[in-house]
């Protein structure tokens, strides 16, 4: 692994998220494990309901429990975030691990000025006088590409476009020099040209500040252009994990292959390689491998026994009986 060869910034082991509902317990995230190294960008890709956003939210314990319940281990600097006390976890949130979300406009409090909110983000963690923090706010706003930060800091969130609001959120994220940035579908609500500017900014910050990034997205194009390593999730489970080159040059899992074939290419036409059916709801998960009803190469074994995620090649794991007959 070119990046993060040393001990990982974040080490997630057996992460499981369940919800108790009238219809019984629904397991939305099932035994997910991965690592992120320093300056490395790891992609978490999958369709709606795959559980990728929940996985990212579980790391900072943002899931409301009850009705939720989170199990497993999230090791960060030698501590398990899932069992850490509320106070010490709050110290880490926003300082060592920052997070940005899909709706930038909605992530800012509509009744406070943008500059104030950014100041608060730092005041919580950095014990400096307000004047020094205020200067730092303007400097950060400039660094993330907000024109005339002096006046814009006094504006309210509804006066910011989607792209500008996300830049503010990224600025807030990096204001306390975090070692990990979690970006949950950061550009889904943005237009293509604005999205490119925001993703270029994230890529630059990861390189310059050595920030590790967990990027959650449903867009394979973004994943292939942004990430060093990729996890593909389906119905709560990781079905394939590998470097970005391996995933796109030699995808092993039938679902990953299907996803790539589904994408309309900019050159050439002809029918799209569509995957039949739709992802099963959490209340109606099929036995064995959860993808078998839609899988073109499924065998009888797949309907009975869930394939474990195991090594196929160095740095390339897959959970499929056909791809990796154990």
């Amino acid at each position: 692994m070119a990046h993060g060869a040393a001990d990982p910034v974040l080490d997630v082991r057996g992460l499981t998220v369940e919800f108790s509902t009238e219809g019984g317990v629904l397991r939305a995230v099932d035994d997910v494990s991965f690592e992120i190294g320093r300056g490395e960008i790891v992609g978490l890709v999958g369709e709606s309901g795959a559980g990728k956003s929940l996985t990212s939210e579980a790391i900072l314990r943002l899931i409301r429990c009850p009705p939720g319940r989170v199990r497993g281990e999230v090791r960060f600097r030698g501590q398990n975030l899932l069992t850490l006390g509320e106070r010490s976890l709050a110290d880490i949130r926003g300082k060592d691990i920052a997070m940005i979300f899909q709706n930038p406009g909605a992530s800012l409090n509509p009744v406070f000025r943008v500059g104030e909110q950014m100041l608060e983000a730092m005041a919580v963690h950095v014990p400096e006088r307000r004047a020094a923090l205020r200067r730092r706010v303007l400097e950060i706003l400039g660094r993330v590409g907000i024109p005339s930060p002096g006046t814009r800091a006094r504006d309210y969130p509804h006066q910011f476009s989607g792209g500008m609001a996300q830049r503010v959120m990224i600025g807030m994220g990096i204001s306390c020099m975090p070692s990990l940035l979690i970006a949950d579908e950061p550009t889904t609500a943005l237009d293509v040209t604005i999205q490119a500017q925001v993703l270029a900014l994230i890529r630059r910050l990861a390189r310059e500040l050595g920030v590790a990034v967990l990027l959650v997205s449903h867009d394979l194009g973004i994943i292939s252009q942004m990430c060093h390593r990729v996890l593909v999730m389906y119905a709560g489970r990781v079905v394939e994990q590998a470097s970005v080159e391996a995933i796109f040059r030699a995808p092993a899992h039938p679902y990953t292959q299907g996803l790539i074939a589904c994408l309309p290419r900019l050159e050439g036409t002809g029918k799209l390689g569509a995957i039949g059916g739709a992802m099963p709801g959490l209340a109606a998960l099929p036995p064995g491998c959860r993808f078998h009803p839609r899988c073109p190469v499924s065998e009888p074994r797949c309907r009975v026994e869930a394939p474990p995620l195991g090594p196929l090649r160095p740095e390339h794991q897959v959970a499929c009986h056909v791809a990796r007959p154990s």
């Binding site: 943002l62 926003g94 920052a98 909605a106 009744v111 963690h125 309210y156």
Partner: protein, 314 residues
């Protein structure tokens, strides 16, 4: 902001016009001929004709309305049929105690509603939640006049802590005034707190689900600051509007509470006037009551515009 306020003022004028038309129409629908009633026993055909044209009652309805609104705007609401006092004086004197009662009830209501609403939202589905929401439905469903009687029976008759009825202006004799205000304010105030507590709870719960609260928590903002700064600042905006809109309900409740506690307010005045068919007073009382509701609604709208940056900074 200016555009919002101007359009609201325009709307308020339209509403006031509608209100005046409704009241004018109501008065026209009263059975019997007002001129006859006014002349009473010294009726002569000549006096009847003369008074009728003086009041412009022989003109078209529109002209009569203009006459009527002209007099109302100049403060002349006619005279009480009973004691021949000027209606405007009667109504203004009666408005003061009602206002004192309503304001006291507002204070009592908010003091009860805000904490119970917040606790209910913070500890959703806990005993606190069921308790405060149960209390809210209980006091909100209890008719204010019956609640007043029970309070009198327990606290005045049985325990003797408070006077059973009567009103003393707090500025003339603060202690006595306040003393007589406690039971009525609790009667009307708890009714009001039931309404507001439920709205504070649902507004707070809705805000706590918003993305910016989740984003703030992800930035390490402590739970207390999350609730009392981020959430509260947004949750209270709709609550201000609701409190304003409930002013009318409070005024209605005051009518009943005044009757129970024998407070010489608008309620008692209008009820007595109806029973005695003293229509000029009824008209005056309703006019002032409704106009005050409309004015309060306007003030609430402006407060809302001021609190909500999306409108303040258009």
């Amino acid at each position: 902001m200016a555009r919002f306020v101007l359009s609201r003022i325009g709307q308020t004028l339209a509403v006031l016009f509608t209100v005046s038309v409704i009241i004018f129409a109501l008065m026209r629908m009263i059975p019997g001929d007002p001129v006859l009633m006014m002349l009473g026993d010294d009726f002569t055909q000549g006096a009847y004709e003369q008074l009728k044209s003086k009041l412009g009652l022989d003109r078209s309805v529109v002209v009569q309305y203009l006459y009527w609104i002209g007099r109302v705007l100049s403060g002349d609401l006619g005279d009480s049929y009973l004691n021949h006092e000027r209606v405007s004086r009667l109504v203004l004197d009666a408005f003061v105690p009602t206002l004192v009662l309503v304001i006291a009830s507002l204070i009592v209501g908010v003091l009860i509603a805000v904490p119970s609403g917040i606790i209910a939202a913070m500890r959703k589905d806990s005993a606190w939640d069921w308790g405060s929401m149960g209390f809210a439905i209980f006091v909100y469903s209890m008719p204010s006049f019956w609640k007043g009687i029970i309070l009198i029976w327990v606290f005045s008759v049985y325990l003797g802590w408070f006077p059973t009825m009567g009103y003393v202006a707090p500025w003339s004799d603060f202690r006595e005034g306040l003393w007589r205000l406690v039971l009525p304010a609790i009667t009307l105030g708890t009714f009001f707190s039931g309404l507001v507590a439920r709205i504070i709870r649902s507004s707070l719960l809705e805000v706590l689900d918003q993305d910016y609260v989740k984003a703030a928590r992800a930035r390490g903002v402590r739970q207390a600051a999350l609730v009392y700064k981020h959430a509260m600042a947004n949750a209270l905006i709709p609550v201000v509007t609701v409190i304003g809109l409930q002013f009318g309900t409070l005024l209605g409740g005051a009518v009943l509470t005044e009757t129970v506690f024998a407070i010489p307010g608008m309620g008692r005045l209008s009820v007595a006037a109806i029973l005695n068919r003293d229509y000029a007073v009824v008209q005056g009382a309703i006019l002032l009551g409704v106009v005050s509701v409309v004015v309060v609604n306007l003030l609430v709208d402006i407060a809302y515009a001021f609190l909500n940056p999306r409108i303040r900074v258009a």
